[in-house]
């Protein structure tokens, strides 16, 4: 249509507002279309209307849509309101975009420039705008600052992200075919054992990820520690004492340990070697999303999904660049000087920024590269309103890491002293920072401690004051936490930077793992063990990694997604055949784990009143309300307590420190809240 306006599609409402403000110089008018806010303005004599999706407005589903029907290979894209139960907002937005498309003569996809954003924009242009996915122009930007947005719209590209969209659509279809068929087959097999329908899900990436957790869980639960000994000595010279550890880290037998003590006591030690060296410690590279998630977990304990959510909020407020990036590089095009000048105007960073601005700005670059976006970096804009504590923490981390990348290498002086007592050697080592370099910019996150070593010269003689021998045991392997699991997924090449955190959250949600400690539940064990026995390819890392590799080729524009989908269908058919041949056994094993898991989820913990029964969540037959009661009620225990009637309850790993009653987390609102179920807990009476 000639004479119409340019319709700009953004991924989120906040982004639409920013785009409109930037392009109109703050003179856009907002209006309501089908109950959603859109922005209208003129720019260089052209009329623009900016609208927003809210994540995916189209999703993959099967025409039948029956959860008990499988196999399903005939998948289609549907408007999300037909796929999701909570799709009313999606329906309004799709309808608004459809209506706006009818008056538009030009279309611009301004969704986030990555696989998911491209897929969101592509689907809207194709289905809601009447086949405009190929003729639409693409605005590509990595920050929502006015400067970047204006530049992106002055330099609109055609067909910029079609490879990404094709890969994104293929990924959705493959994951749907994989997940829906195998999950339905598993759920149905458990149903065959006579219980009510319960979803047992297993996804393409979820399966191998759960496999990693189960492998570690088995190592932990079958672990037998083996004893060994460590020795250390206290030495004295001129009234000054120092402690050194025995050079052999692990002494295998008690007899050897005792012999070391006997042979050293009462003797003299000689400083046989004193080595001092200075090492350069280079600055850390700027964050990609995985690195940011790991560092936020290390420093603040935030889960990967929480960090991603916070980083996205900061992006939508134009404070940091697009966070879903794999890049560890900062290209000069982001304009280092301008960003650091901006940071110099923010309290807390002005000294570091001003200092850096005096020199040549050349950041250290990482090995990982992402063509679509640079490493996560601050935009240099100052927060216009106060940030929440968690937002402030992540913002500070990103800013300091960015500044540190421009800093000079730090220098650390290391010292190692070897003390010889006859044939036995003891060592003491230390280190201190002599030039902080980048560490000053990274601040408390740098994490290097100074351990001073007393001045010792070769040939110095010491009296052996004491030798201590300590019995030790091998430590069981640590459980994965959300951060180390994310790292493992990255290393194994499964999932994407955008999906890994959600996959981990799904494992918790499905009760395959419990809580922060990522302890695999009986249900998780059972699902993996059953798969390993009958359909090992479901938890195979190789197959998932191979699919990821092929999807990357599609992203790069090599095509081949149709063959990839056909290959997935063939693989799923093989897996379903194997499942079907063992349906009864698989069903029995999964069902028994499900039953145990549900029963366990009702038990809150030992009853602190009678000390024999368990406190459980019970639903009253008369009122249908839930409350806490003791399993020893028939034995006379009358312990009981009311419970909130809304929200999902999860038992905390430890009882209340004040009264020993169980503690639950109530989920459902914005954040889970902690509740000691004891209505008379002394803690609750505190003002």
């Amino acid at each position: 249509m000639n004479g119409g306006y340019t319709l700009v599609i953004c991924e989120k409402p906040d982004a639409a507002e920013r785009v409109s403000d930037a392009l109109s110089g703050g003179r856009s008018r907002s209006e309501q279309v089908e109950g959603t806010t859109v922005f209208r303005f003129n720019r260089k004599g052209e009329e623009f209307v900016v609208c927003a999706a809210q994540g995916h407005l189209y999703g993959v589903s099967d025409p039948a849509g029956e959860r008990t029907v499988y196999p399903v290979f005939d998948v289609e894209w549907y408007s999300s309101d037909l796929v999701d139960e909570d799709g009313a907002d999606a329906a309004r937005r799709t309808s608004a975009i459809r209506k706006l498309a009818s008056g538009a003569s030009k279309f611009v996809n301004a969704c986030d420039f990555d696989v998911e954003g491209e897929t969101i924009g592509y689907n809207l242009l194709r289905y809601a705008c009447g086949g405009k996915e190929k003729s639409a122009l693409r605005a590509t930007f990595s920050t929502l600052t006015e400067e970047d947005l204006v530049k992106a719209f002055d330099d609109l590209k055609s067909q910029a992200g079609l490879g990404l969209a094709r890969a994104g659509r293929a990924r959705h279809a493959i994951d749907f075919v994989w997940g829906v068929n195998l999950s339905r087959a598993l759920s149905q097999s458990a149903l065959g054992s006579g219980h009510r329908y319960r979803t047992v899900s297993v996804g393409r990436v979820q399966g191998p990820t759960l496999g990693f957790l189960v492998e570690r869980e088995r190592e932990i639960r079958t672990f037998v520690p083996v004893p060994y000994w460590k020795a250390s000595g206290t030495f004295e010279k001129d009234g000054e004492k120092l402690t050194a550890v025995y050079a052999r880290d692990r002494i295998e037998t008690r007899q050897s340990a005792d012999k070391i003590r006997e042979e050293c006591m009462g003797r003299e030690a000689v400083a046989a070697a004193v080595r001092r060296s200075t090492v350069q410690v280079g600055p850390p590279v700027a964050f990609n999303i995985g690195d940011l998630q790991k560092e936020a977990y290390r420093t603040f304990g935030y889960t990967p999904s929480r960090t991603l959510q916070i980083a996205e909020k900061l992006y939508l407020r134009a404070l940091v660049s697009y966070p879903r990036t794999g890049s560890q590089r900062l290209p000069p095009s982001i304009n280092y000087r301008s960003i650091i000048q901006g940071l110099s105007r923010i309290p807390g960073y002005s000294a570091s920024a001003t200092e850096l601005l005096k020199g040549n700005l050349k950041p250290v670059q990482g090995a990982k590269f992402d063509a679509a976006h640079p490493a996560v970096h601050p935009t240099g804009e100052r927060p216009k309103r106060p940030l929440e504590a968690s937002e402030s923490a992540v913002f500070d981390l990103v800013v300091r890491r960015f500044l540190a990348a421009f800093g000079p290498s730090a220098r650390r002086e290391l010292a190692e002293v070897t003390l010889a007592v006859g044939e036995h050697e003891f060592r003491l080592a230390g280190g201190r920072t002599v030039f902080p370099g980048w560490m000053r910019y990274y601040g408390r996150y740098a994490g290097y401690r100074d351990v001073e070593v007393s001045p010792v010269s070769e040939g110095d003689r010491f009296k052996v004051v004491s030798v201590t021998v300590e019995e030790k045991f091998e430590q069981k392997p640590p459980r994965y936490n959300q951060s180390s699991l994310l790292e493992k997924m990255e290393r194994e090449g499964i999932g994407t930077k955008a999906t890994r955190a959600d996959i981990i959250a799904t494992l918790v949600e499905r009760r395959y793992v419990s809580g922060e400690r990522m302890e695999v539940t009986d249900l998780g064990l059972s699902v993996v063990e059953t798969m390993t026995e009958y359909v090992p390819s479901i938890i195979s890392t190789e197959l998932t990694r191979e699919i990821e590799g092929k999807l990357e080729s599609v992203e790069e524009g090599s095509g081949g997604e149709a063959e990839l989908l056909r290959g997935t269908v063939r693989s799923v058919v093989r897996q379903l055949t194997a499942l079907s041949a063992n349906e009864e056994t698989v069903g029995r094993e999964i069902d028994s784990a499900l039953t145990a898991s549900v029963a366990k989820s009702f038990v809150l913990g030992k009853c602190p009143v009678c000390k024999t029964g368990n406190l459980r969540i019970i639903r009253s037959k008369a009122t249908k309300k839930r409350f806490v009661g003791c399993s020893n009620y028939p034995g006379g225990c009358r312990a009981s307590a009311p419970l909130p009637q809304k929200g999902t309850l999860r038992t905390a790993s430890k009882p209340c420190e004040c009264c020993s009653w169980p503690v639950v987390y109530v989920m459902g609102g914005r954040r889970p809240w902690r509740l000691c179920v004891n209505p008379n807990c002394p803690e609750k009476r505190k003002p």
């Binding site: 932990i220 639960r221 079958t222 672990f223 037998v224 004893p227 008690r254 430590q475 064990l525």
Partner: protein
């Protein structure tokens, strides 16, 4: 057949997890004997059972073997 320890499906008298745990215990015994110079099988099981580093399934097997 059910596992003597946990009631899961068993191959002989133990499920796959407890069979694996039993294997680990048998492998560890000579290492403990070497480490301490001498150790009775029952003392070994008691020590394994008490050790906070011991895995849950191996603790259960140590308990079973101790009788």
């Amino acid at each position: 057949m059910k596992c003597l320890v946990c009631g899961r499906e068993a191959v002989k008298d133990l499920c796959r997890y407890h069979t694996e745990a039993k294997e680990r215990i048998r492998e560890a015994y000579p290492l403990w004997v070497k480490a301490y110079g001498n150790m009775d099988w029952k003392d070994f099981l008691d020590n394994v059972k008490r050790n906070p580093q011991t895995g849950q399934w191996t603790k259960e097997i140590a308990e079973l073997l101790r009788g």
